[in-house]
Homo-oligomer: 306 residues x 4
């Protein structure tokens, strides 16, 4: 690597300038048991706890305000738009005319915010199990305040599965914004073939689309849950599209999977046209070209599919 | 979050056990270039800045509230009494009847608090150069609030040397509660032979005693500044007593040096008697036996004296 | 010690579970001033120093053997193939018949290794300024040992610019595997318009292609040097193609830029065909689809171009 | 505190100088769950594992070579003499003529090394349960090599209790160099009243002395095990002397307790005389004055005794 080391983004050197107050407090996360990711802190804005988990809102130097739950980064002010635009816009844009949407989870409010930018949306149900987390985000995440007040939003505090089974109306798009399916974790049951087949699919309207966040999708990390979610959905739906994007604050590439029993519209130019016609305001991440690239997985990831 | 938090690739599901709120935020200090000391954080209570330095009040898990200036721990709620009792009581108790006291520095207020526990004290001048630090501590360090309001206290914002030279009255005890004498540091001049000889000594009353914090005094760290301060004072005063104590939050043994041109009273039983007679409330650290031990330095430290 | 080890106050008895050998040693890198990336260590295999820089070969738990120069990760065993396949194969495959190649830098040997997999290559000049780094990698990076012995390789220890100006023959592909252009850094001059125009271009044969690593290319980090290198090359060459890939051990997406005065062949199927015909062994990262995705930049990155 | 913060020993500032290789690798230890102590590393010299524990020999920048077992620092080259001189010399010097010694644990060899400096010693039994640790220290701790070869040393691999009960001869001094009595830990049984009364005491010769390391003895940490060991021994022996010393690499003050049914000789001048007469070479830490100070506990520690 050359005449001398290429610095990968490091710009330290001025011990004094970067010392002192500016670097004495840190947020530290174990990405894996043997891998740590540490952000310098400006302050710890708010802390709380629900019956399910601990909640913190931190002000970090590299990524701005960060929502941390049980010691794990949920989303960072500076780049949460990559996650939420990727989760929401591809399925809504692929649908000819999405009017009714159901979010499993999403209590942070950012997923609702992106959905409500779509002029076609008439009704949005957000079903999160943790009231305290929802209240915490309502109070402290200014960027989502408007979404929480939108008359089209119906907020329900309940288990997503129970709620879907309880309801009778159909949805044009159902979105899974849930914790990864950790063996024995709270969301494991919400990623199973039977859940998709007997709970999700029956609640999709004709031409309806299901999308879920699908965990890390890096050249190595995609084997944790991403490949498995993709392969499960392929057993339930006839059209399945996995895609991914690098999210700086996660120190990894993240994945999503879109699925339907009807062909998915993915043409770049048509996506750009629909963005112009249907979405209020300017996307920061998703457009036709970006989605084309995001939905073309690298050889290293493709190889681990059956 | 909860049912719905998307975990960003963190595979250890048990947030509370492994990480969780309790251990994700840390205060980190470089004790030396190659040695770090890290406290888990509950919160960052207050931050401020003066023309001279950055100020933080942290709530730490191992040591309670901690005052940090320019990224260096000044004092921790749980054990600052060791530092301040050691700085104040030996000189005041060694003096037959200390009425007037002068503190160089001490803006935190804890040194004044300990001095004002002495019933003999009639007048106390605290001279700190940094108004903002003093205001910060006044507002946030509840434990010193009473001291800041004591009518015997005269608070002056000025350079300690200039103030001592400006004044004409004499003091029974003069206390140096200043930053270590770092070459080129702001306090370097306040540890020199000429400063002691021509500025401090002339302001001591008959039988007067000077004491100063003297930096780290561990078996290795005492060579940084402690030995040098001790040796300097021996050139200026006829009676000089160095002593030390381990302060957990400093991760080191700390040192102080007491000096006078009159014999210093150090008898353990007599010290205990004077403590009972003169000091309001109960000492937590200093008594006769403790001082006997503190003023008997280990062979490793004694060996580096001329 | 077991029965006999005196534990120095550590109260968690279960060494293996909580800490133990597996997690007590860490490699820590400052990705940016306020961002740290830490790998658990198995061992520090080798350390060395040249007149230019410090060199370490570490055995890390998350990424395998890691080459670190001046405290910055150069490449990690587990994913260096992403960086080196991306640097080498797109330009060589876009060229109809690459016979002669020149590497500026590349002392690690991995770039040469990937080039020498191309059956068309008859002559490869690797010009690195740091003899010690080259010797270090020759001795310790087994994966590149064969490449260092390949008769087609001519290894030169010299400044890349001086060497290119000294030589008269032309090259089908010139590769920049150099440190990022840090203001005042050693490689800054090797990323300038005049260097590309008057030193590189004259040494390219008809249809020749230049490629360079171009630093971080994340949605935020691409503004550091990637955009600037891309814009500079557009002033010198008529066909310029930027592309990027996420490299886990760098905790970022990385960028490369390919440039030529002749149209670049980028068709995915044709690339796959040429891979089959021209490259010995199987690529782990680059194929037609992967390159199509890699060379389609996201909206967030495209937006910062003039 | 004062005109500006007093730096407690921090001397950072030169980002570049201290960056790079010199600071990228760290040993990290959790002193407590919320408190970390980190040493910059030069290298990881040796690693091993026994049926009981993991073993590492590290080369650290602040404290030299460090023996780490199950992720916990056992002893550091630079200051292990404080621990081992404090454990060995006070009991041996208090005894009129110590000929036979028994060490429970001590596999590192440093305790034996200090004992064998005493000219009066004719026989030393070291009983450690972990053969691998003993072999590891024999091979790698050059400083103890001579001790391991001393003909007076009888090395036994066995459980200390079983060995003491098996033997019939008596010892002038029995030394406990064992892990702290952690509830459920391997050494818990070796700190009980019944063990002292029925296993240790019967093996002491007339005038015999027992000593044990007694864990952290800081103003707060002494309540973990130190006070409890002291109080237990007071129920079994008529003369009990606790003492302590700050050990820099432990980031704490450490404690030991000496006990006998015969009065213990503690006069400082007599201790100095016996050191001169009986000990080969020069002590680095223990002398009469040092022991007087070490055995005079501070008020904060004394207060927690019945």
């Amino acid at each position: 690597m050359g005449d001398i080391s290429f610095s990968n983004g490091t710009s330290n050197g001025n011990g004094n300038a970067v010392g002192g107050q500016r670097k004495s407090c840190w947020y530290e996360e174990e990405i894996e048991e043997n891998l740590r990711w540490c952000f310098a802190l400006n302050s710890i804005l708010h802390t709380g706890a629900s019956q399910y988990q601990d909640i913190q809102l931190l002000d970090t130097k590299p990524f701005g305000k960060a929502l941390v739950i049980d010691g794990k980064l949920q989303s960072a002010e500076i780049d949460e738009f990559v996650y939420h635009e990727s989760l929401v816009h591809p399925p809504l844009l692929s649908h000819p005319n999405p009017k009714t949407i159901f979010i499993m989870g999403g209590g942070e409010g950012s997923t609702a915010r992106e959905i409500l930018r779509h002029k076609t949306v008439q009704k949005l149900v957000m079903c999160d199990i943790d009231q305290e987390v929802v209240e915490f985000c309502k109070s402290y995440l200014a960027v989502n305040r408007e979404a929480f007040c939108d008359p089209r939003l119906e907020l329900v505090i309940n288990d997503a599965r129970a709620e879907l089974e309880r309801r009778e109306e159909l949805y044009d798009v159902i979105i899974g914004d849930l914790a990864d399916p950790i063996e024995g974790g709270p969301c494991y049951q919400l990623y199973t073939k039977s859940f998709y087949e007997f709970t999700v699919k029956p609640r999709l309207s004709k031409g309806g689309i299901f999308v879920t966040q699908a965990g890390p999708a890096g050249i190595f990390s995609h084997t944790e849950v991403f490949s498995c979610i993709y392969n499960t959905l392929r057993q339930v739906f006839s059209h399945v599209v996995p895609y991914s994007a690098h999210i700086p604050s996660y120190a990894d590439t993240w994945g999503w999977v879109m699925a339907s029993d009807f062909p998915l519209m993915l043409n770049a130019d048509e996506l750009d046209l629909r963005i112009k016609l249907r979405i209020k305001g300017e996307n920061r991440y998703i457009d036709g070209k970006t989605f084309t690239s995001a939905s073309t997985l690298s050889k290293a990831v493709r190889n681990s599919y059956g």
